[in-house]
Symmetry: D2
Subunit: 288 residues, 4 copies
Amino acid sequence: MARIAFLGLGVMGAPMARHLAAAGHSLVVHNRSPEKARAWVQAHGGSHAATPAAAAGGADAVIACVGTDEDVDRVTQGPDGAFRNMSAGTLFIDHTTVSARIARKIAEAGRRQGIACVDAPVSGGQAGAENGTLAAMCGGTEEAIGAARPLMEAYSARIVHVGPDGAGQLTKMVNQIAIAGVLQGLSEAVHFTKAAGLDPDKVLEAVSGGAAQSWQMVNRWDTMMRGEFDFGFAIDWMRKDLGLALDEARRNGASLPMAALVDQFYAEVQAMGGARQDTSALVRRLNE
Amino acid sequence: MARIAFLGLGVMGAPMARHLAAAGHSLVVHNRSPEKARAWVQAHGGSHAATPAAAAGGADAVIACVGTDEDVDRVTQGPDGAFRNMSAGTLFIDHTTVSARIARKIAEAGRRQGIACVDAPVSGGQAGAENGTLAAMCGGTEEAIGAARPLMEAYSARIVHVGPDGAGQLTKMVNQIAIAGVLQGLSEAVHFTKAAGLDPDKVLEAVSGGAAQSWQMVNRWDTMMRGEFDFGFAIDWMRKDLGLALDEARRNGASLPMAALVDQFYAEVQAMGGARQDTSALVRRLNE
Amino acid sequence: MARIAFLGLGVMGAPMARHLAAAGHSLVVHNRSPEKARAWVQAHGGSHAATPAAAAGGADAVIACVGTDEDVDRVTQGPDGAFRNMSAGTLFIDHTTVSARIARKIAEAGRRQGIACVDAPVSGGQAGAENGTLAAMCGGTEEAIGAARPLMEAYSARIVHVGPDGAGQLTKMVNQIAIAGVLQGLSEAVHFTKAAGLDPDKVLEAVSGGAAQSWQMVNRWDTMMRGEFDFGFAIDWMRKDLGLALDEARRNGASLPMAALVDQFYAEVQAMGGARQDTSALVRRLNE
Amino acid sequence: MARIAFLGLGVMGAPMARHLAAAGHSLVVHNRSPEKARAWVQAHGGSHAATPAAAAGGADAVIACVGTDEDVDRVTQGPDGAFRNMSAGTLFIDHTTVSARIARKIAEAGRRQGIACVDAPVSGGQAGAENGTLAAMCGGTEEAIGAARPLMEAYSARIVHVGPDGAGQLTKMVNQIAIAGVLQGLSEAVHFTKAAGLDPDKVLEAVSGGAAQSWQMVNRWDTMMRGEFDFGFAIDWMRKDLGLALDEARRNGASLPMAALVDQFYAEVQAMGGARQDTSALVRRLNE
Ligand SMILES: NC(=O)C1=CN([C@@H]2O[C@H](COP(=O)(O)OP(=O)(O)OC[C@H]3O[C@@H](n4cnc5c(N)ncnc54)[C@H](OP(=O)(O)O)[C@@H]3O)[C@@H](O)[C@H]2O)C=CC1
Ligand SMILES: NC(=O)C1=CN([C@@H]2O[C@H](COP(=O)(O)OP(=O)(O)OC[C@H]3O[C@@H](n4cnc5c(N)ncnc54)[C@H](OP(=O)(O)O)[C@@H]3O)[C@@H](O)[C@H]2O)C=CC1
Ligand SMILES: NC(=O)C1=CN([C@@H]2O[C@H](COP(=O)(O)OP(=O)(O)OC[C@H]3O[C@@H](n4cnc5c(N)ncnc54)[C@H](OP(=O)(O)O)[C@@H]3O)[C@@H](O)[C@H]2O)C=CC1
């Protein structure tokens, strides 16, 4: 069993850390707002530290699930960052969805200190984190991912080593691009179904078994029809992720017309008050 | 067992008629280009007729799977149309993907003659027709669909009665709208994967189990990656279908920005020579 | 001076007919709702007729400015259509914005009767019609346009013979396509100006002299900023025109992604109650 | 007459500096690649300096026209930046198109040192710079712009004080957003004109006087028709500028669907080799 520092106890991080503790690892947790760390320790044991550096002292592995590029930068390489206190032979796993650029920068810094780094953004959402059934898309060396895998298995149903440093983040971008198209198509399908006066249940029954099927159709059709959006993966996060993909596309030369358009449509839903709602709230700009 | 007139022996119609014959029904077939009808009879028995009207004489049910609104109009109500020769108490099933307007017009004409009409466009493609696993989305009265169901079961795995006359066609539009979004998202995902230099198999493994999953992703990712498009559902048909949806939206007030955009992107693929290629060839305008 | 039958006394037709009367021509007018025709005669002299055919009897030229393809078809070739009563050597000018297909069909019918036909949709709007400063974009033979020109000069500042039958209509489509792009760009510029908290007058002063300049910017910036839209060219008409362009593009293979998208955005403005508002109300879906 | 340090002698900067010298000011120029500075001095007199700081020593005003946010940051606040060597009471004018954020950051730094700062991106392109007829859209205090105006008049036909620090940059974004819409509309109009087989000269004559008119239509229609794009404002710069607008919109909440889409279409033209071509090369993705 390993000594693990876990940084970031939000919607995703808290249940991930819980699964690690339940698996028998010994945890020191840290969170920007310390009350979350205190509450977590009260509920799940272990201890909490005031800074990433303090948490990392003596750890075999440091795992982060914070918010943005800046957050990851700060918790790793900031003045109180974990890297200040990590020794050669340790492991760093980042589950935050960030740019490939920062993932490579961290891996580079890790290499200089002998820290093995894995960029491993996840899909599966809050439910996946709670149930320990996340999918982790991983970038890094074979060895780094080999070392990380037993830890990640505590909360992941699927762990795929896609490629070198940053490949995990790039794969997450592919994931979000595909989702953007699915959701805009689904939003228009829902909107048209209503405008045409069709029975939504019958339509779903008729179309969900064939070429139009998608995870989103199976899991979001009913809530979109009822206008329920206060759950799931927040539009603010989705815009962050689409922004990462669009930035990366600027570098690699890809053209992403639909992703760019949907990103702007999300701006309209944010303006309608939907920033914290599930990405399926994309339909709101058509239905309201 | 019923006496059935089958009109239209194309990619879809020929195998549907074959399943009916195999189920023991007695068939008279008709096709615009008579050689297809002759060949079908040679292979599967029954007889062929020179006109829809001739085929319909004495039939319990007339089933059509032709091309467009004009085609359906002609085979039902044209000078040699089937309706000239159908008596009260018979059944007309249309599997062509057409407008809701023409479906309602035919049902109206049927009502005057005592012919029960079902609009029942299908999904599942050529493979579904060959294997008898189509999904039929049906509009019409409870009785009409009740009468049609045993016949359609010869080639359908799923038969859903969605609503009144035209509801089948409207549901097919919903289906195509959803597919358009899925395919544009998937095209950009494929394109980005290549631009980013990722291993396509690893990416698929990582993303196909979660929120980005779709039938198209599972069934088209590999062929899109390899640039194989000479199979499946033709772009020409897809543009016809999106055109039907966009026309209907003009009437019911729905806004379909993505469907409209993808329809234009398909024009670009047609200009690249892709008119007869599978709808997944949408990726060609990004990759070439 | 000529004997002219004028069909359609709407926002555009009434002032056009008035300019013809003022130029000394003798007019018989007809309008679907007869009260408009009676009112026009009361104000401007001449006489009115109950049907297009009646109006056309004895006329040297018949000029139409009605609504849609169906309307033009009816007033020319319907049971009471003008063509029933026109003799060889007369002239037909159509100012309605319609499809190139119907323009060609009418010209073809005209040719069989010895009627010279001109398709001459106009730009310049209500103001252009009132002031007699319209621009007419014309399709037809050199002779037909030569004959039509002196009449059209009564209300046109610019008359361009673009090409054969239908070329006038196709040119009008080009015009509307260009406008759609300009207006969406301008809408986003206005919206961004507000979101950025800039002084609209200063911004207009800074940008209206250069590469971003457009007729719409010069003439609509202020009203868009103030949210005034109850004037000008109605969105319902614009959608009809974009529909004509998109239909024609289906035939000629052009891809019009932006026109298709803006057409859908207009559906959103129609749903907001903007159907009769000026096309610049496109900004409403961003600003409200 | 003033002592002026001019930083950045590219397509825009070199002629701007030339106009200043011609107006009698005394210039010290600096450019990243020193050969441009040497050549400029050979042609127009003055002297050149190895670093921005060296150029700025003793200057009354420092004027920059470099490339990006990073470039402006470096030439002002980098280790060899001009601000190291500027004294209270001097003036800094930035003609580079950059973010409002960096403009505000520089103004803030200027304020601490008593340097008056103006963000003054320009429009008018290379021709405007050569002919001294640029339009400068300015952000800053009344005093700063008052001081800058006489210098900028050497190469500007129009100078508008739009608002506080950053307002010049925000106005330039408005300009580019409007242009993006105009150019996509125009590209589709050009493409449709060709697909419809119309005479481009006649079409231009017919549509350029009315509601579809734009600077781009008047100045680019012919070259777009002929496929000439090796001049003008480069697509690489346009994507930078649209990127700035889209980034700013993320902050101010604006939705820019068309700007986002056109930005991606430009990626397609870059992939076709159009990175250095005029922005009107947007039509290439439709015509080729
Ligand atoms: N929610 C979801 O469904 C999914 C989220 N993700 C990604 O996972 C990441 C986390 O998402 P989620 O858990 O929902 O977000 P939350 O905002 O709920 O959690 C982020 C946590 O990180 C902490 N944090 C941020 N910065 C720092 C810092 N510098 N030092 C210490 N702690 C810090 C925050 O602290 P504080 O309490 O102070 O805010 C917060 O508790 C994001 O990148 C997101 O895109 C990926 C897949 C699904
Ligand atoms: N292909 C697919 O994967 C799917 C197709 N569809 C829909 O099913 C319909 C048929 O598609 P598909 O089978 O692929 O098309 P095909 O073109 O292969 O078949 C259409 C058949 O109808 C015949 N036909 C057309 N008009 C007439 C007429 N007036 N009188 C007699 N026969 C006529 C044609 O004859 P001829 O031999 O002279 O051309 C042809 O054999 C379309 O509406 C399509 O959108 C729906 C789902 C999937
Ligand atoms: N071109 C146009 O039509 C218009 C351009 N603009 C904007 O004006 C700016 C300049 O454009 P343009 O002149 O065309 O671009 P160029 O690339 O031709 O010129 C930029 C110049 O700045 C120099 N430079 C860049 N960074 C530094 C640095 N750190 N230190 C010293 N010199 C530096 C470059 O040096 P080096 O020789 O080493 O590359 C180059 O000479 C851009 O922001 C552009 O968006 C605005 C309106 C129109």
